[in-house]
Symmetry: C2
Subunit: 115 residues, 2 copies
DNA sequence: GCATTATGTGCACACGCGCGCATACATCAA
DNA sequence: TTGATGTATGCGCGCGTGTGCACATAATGC
């Protein structure tokens, strides 16, 4: 594989929306709560967080809109859950795209060979 | 591996600084330029970007501070380069931490049967 | 019907941050 | 030295957005 081909493959998987979902500290805490709790309603997610429930609700909407979380309504509560497969696939795709680029072209600062 | 153990492993690799490095659109463009150009000085990186050179310079500093880029001074120019190994390792660590959590506990909403 | 619980939303505020400009600093050439 | 080039930084502006409050909406229980 050529360097430009590897570079293009790497460019293709770079998604700003995915990163924006995790770049806010509070939103990352929400993600952490979802990891700990698994499937949970907004009240349970917001319980240990200092922000208002409405704020957590908005963050969850953002996460869902980014494709990293899904919601299911049950009666008057809304349960949220991380979309594990999607997250893993995204991470794997980025890693698989970046790996060959590092191998064949960008020895980088901490690389020894490359005579 | 238990669910909580997998969850803790997943929490450990969640790094806000890493995501913040890629969440800004302009900064992502800088990363794209670095992927295309490989090692390059600030002038070359900022050449095709609409923002001012000083802005690109600041973004590169942010990327370096986040550990995803490195700079080397040569005379009066500063060459930047993505820290490929670090990026790949981070992505791999996140994927490897999230994968078992998805497998053993969070089948998720739409489990697609794939390897 | 009314009350309670759970969540969504309009609104205004404040903080952060990306941005460009001007300028200072560093390096090289003549 | 002086001038030119490349980069960093101080400053202010403007927009995006996270935040909380109050209220609206929906669903359950009485």
């Amino acid at each position: 594989m050529s360097r430009s081909a590897a570079a293009n493959a790497c460019l293709a998987v770079l998604d700003a929306a995915f990163f924006k979902a995790f770049c806010d500290p509070t939103r990352l805490e929400v993600v952490r709560r979802l990891i700990k709790l698994g499937r949970a309603d907004i009240g349970a997610i917001a319980e240990a967080l200092p922000q208002d429930r409405s704020v957590i609700s908005r963050h969850l909407q953002i996460l869902e809109h980014a494709g990293v979380a899904v919601s299911t309504r049950e009666g008057r509560q809304v349960f949220y859950e991380l979309n594990g497969p999607v997250i893993v696939d995204r991470l794997a795709a980025m890693r698989d795209a970046a790996a060959p680029l590092v191998e064949i072209c960008c020895p980088g600062p901490a690389r020894k060979s490359r005579a």
